[in-house]
Amino acid sequence: MVCSEWPEIRLDEYEGVWVAAFADESGQGIEEASLQLIGAARQLADKLETYVGVALIGRGVRDLAREPIFYGADRVFVVDDDRLATYYPAVWGRVLHDLASRHRPEVFLIPATLRGREMAPYIANSFRTGITADLTAMDVNERGEVVLIRPPFGGFMLAHIVTRNRRPVMGSVRPNVFPTPERDESRTGEVVEESIDVPEPRGIRLLEREPILKKEEIPIEKADVIVAGGRGIGSKEGFKLLRRLADLLGGVVAGSRKAVDAGWIEPDKQVGQTGKAVKPNLYIAVAISGAAQHVFGIREAKRVVAINVDPDAPIFEHSDYGIVGDYREVVPALIELLEEIKGRRKEG
C-alpha cells in the first residue's frame, strides 16, 4: 500500500531530465549554477536517451529563453509573468511544481543556491516525492533507475540514493560541483511559452530588498590561490598572517569548519562538504588536520600544500607538498621569502 496522502501516479508517464533555471542578478543572463546543472542534466539525459528540459521562470525571462539551449537544453519551458517580479519561496515553488507536473519529467534538478535550497524541498513535497540534497554525481544503474549520489557524513563514502515509487526523482546541486559547459550558439532546441496561474503570495510580503555591498573580493570558489586556516591557527590574529601570505600570492583566505565555528573567518569562506567546493591552482592548508569532510572540498584543487605541526596529520596524505612545522614559524618565513622575491622583481 502507499500512503494515502500521496496522489496516485504512473511511473511510465514520466520522461525527460529537467532543470530549474533562473536569471542572474543583472537579469541579463542565466545564473551560473543553473548553467552548470544543464550540463550535468545533458550527460544524464544522454545515458537515459531522453531530452533535457529547462523550466525558466521569472519576470522578463522570455528574452533569455534561448540561452539554456546553447548550454545543452532541448526544450525550454518559459513562464514569464509580472507576478513573478518578486521572489517568494512558496509562490515560485508552486509555479515550478505546476509547470513540471504538466510535463511529467522523470528527473527534476534544482540549483542549490540559497534560494534553490529554500524552494527545492517545497517543490518535492508538492509532488509528495523524495529529494536528494547536494548531490555530486548522477548515474543510471543496472535496473535502469536514476541514482543520485551524495557524500554522507563520513566524507569518504558516497551514498547512492534511488527514488523507487515516486516521480519526479528530485535532487539539488550546489554551485560549482559541475563545470559550466561551453556556450555553443549552433545548438538548436525548442522554446515553449507556458502560462501558469501564478498564485498570490499568502501571508508573506517583501518589505525591503537591498544589495549587499561586498568588498571587491574574489569568492573562494573562483580564486586561483587559496590560503586556508584551521583550528590550529588559534586566533583571529593568526588569520591576519594568512591574509598577508594570500595577498603576496594574489589569493584569498578561507577556512575549515572549525575556524568558521570559532568566528575567525566568515561562513561563506568555509571549504568542504558543508561549505564550498573549490578548484584553485594552489591550495595551502595551514593548521588544518585534513578531515574527510574538509578534503572533500579540495578534490579539484590542482596542487595542495599542507603546513602542520603534526607529522601524522591526515592532511599530508592529501597534499602534494607538506611542511611539518609550526605555522607561526613557517608562514612568516614564507612571507619574508615572497617579499624578497617581489622586491627583486620590482628592481629587475
Binding site: A90, A133, I204, K214, Y321
Partner: protein, 264 residues
C-alpha cells in the same frame, strides 16, 4: 499568547558515523550525541521572542528515546516544555516522512510560529523546514537572522548571497534561523531544577498520533539508499619537508616556481 514550537534534532557528535549497509540507516549505538548545534540557535531565537513578547516555547524532537537528554538541555536553557516523538514505526524516515510526522505533531500541539535550525550537522539537507511548511500550508522563510513582532505580524530579516531582505509574515508561519548568527544562551541551574521538578517532557508515540503506517518511517520514505561506496582518493605527490622553517619556505617556493605556480 504566542505559541512557539522549536524543532531540534539529536545528532551524533562525531565524524565517524557509520551506516548499516543493509538498511542504509544510521548506526547510533556507542556514538555520543548532542543537540544539533544550529538548532540551539533556533532555540535562542525562540526564547528571545518569548522573553520580549510573552508566550510559550515548546521543543519537539523525533528521535530514539536517548534524545530526552537533548530536550533536558534546551529546557535548561529556558524552554517551557517539550515533546519527545519516539516510536520504532518512525525509524528510517527520509526527510519527507520526517517532515510529515513533525507537521502532525505541531498541528496537534497548536502553534503560531515554528522555528527550525538552518540544517543539521549530520545529513545537512535543510529540507525539513520547507517540507513542514508545505504540509501545513503556511508561509515560510529560511536563513532568518533577526525577528520581531509588529502588530501581530512577524518581521524577519535575512541575507542571501548578494541581497539582504526583510519580509513580513502573518502568523502562523515557519522560519529557519541562519546558522552561525546567534549565540545560544547557557543552561541555567534554576531552569534545570524546574525541569526536574515539573518534568515537562511528554512522549508521543504513533498511538497518540495515529498516523497511517504507509506514510511514516521507511515505508513513508520515497528515497532509499541503494549502495554505499568509498570515494576514491585523489592522487597527490605526498612530498614532505621537515626541518628549519626558512629552509622549508625555500623548498616550497622553489617547487612552486618550478611548476609555474609562482612568478619570479
Amino acid at each position: 499568547m504566542l505559541r512557539i514550537v522549536v524543532g531540534i534534532k539529536w545528532v551524533p557528535n562525531t565524524t565517524s558515523v557509520n551506516i548499516d549497509p543493509k538498511t542504509g540507516t544510521l548506526i547510533r549505538e556507542g556514538i555520543p550525541s548532542v543537540v544539533n548545534p544550529h538548532d540551539l540557535e533556533a532555540v535562542e531565537m525562540a526564547l528571545r521572542l518569548r522573553d520580549e513578547y510573552g508566550g510559550r516555547v515548546t521543543a519537539i524532537t523525533m528521535s530514539p528515546p536517548s534524545a530526552r537528554a537533548g530536550l533536558e538541555h534546551v529546557l535548561g536553557m529556558g524552554v517551557d516544555d517539550a515533546v519527545l516523538v519516539s516510536d520504532r514505526a518512525f525509524a528510517g524516515a527520509d526527510t519527507l516522512a520526517t517532515s510529515y510526522v513533525l507537521a502532525k505533531v505541531i498541528e496537534r500541539l497548536g502553534y503560531d510560529l515554528i522555528v527550525f535550525g538552518q540544517e543539521t550537522i549530520d545529513s545537512s539537507t535543510a529540507h525539513v523546514g520547507a517540507q513542514v511548511a508545505s504540509w501545513l500550508d503556511i508561509p515560510y522563510v529560511y536563513y532568518v537572522t533577526h525577528a520581531r513582532l509588529e502588530g501581530g505580524r512577524l518581521i524577519v530579516r535575512r541575507s542571501l548571497e548578494n541581497v539582504r531582505e526583510t519580509y513580513e509574515l502573518e502568523l502562523p508561519a515557519l522560519i529557519s534561523v541562519a546558522m552561525h548568527t546567534l549565540h545560544p544562551r547557557r543552561v541555567r541551574l534554576s531552569h534545570k531544577l524546574r525541569a526536574k521538578l515539573e518534568s515537562p517532557i511528554e512522549t508521543w508515540t504513533n498511538r497518540e498520533l495515529g498516523l497511517e503506517p504507509d506514510c511514516i518511517g521507511l515505508k513513508g520514505s520515497p528515497t532509499a539508499l541503494s549502495k554505499i561506496e568509498m570515494i576514491p582518493k585523489v592522487p597527490r605527490k605526498n612530498e614532505i619537508f621537515r626541518g628549519d622553517p626558512r629552509e622549508a619556505a625555500k623548498w616550497l617556493v622553489d617547487k612552486l616556481i618550478e611548476e609555474g605556480l609562482l612568478e619570479v
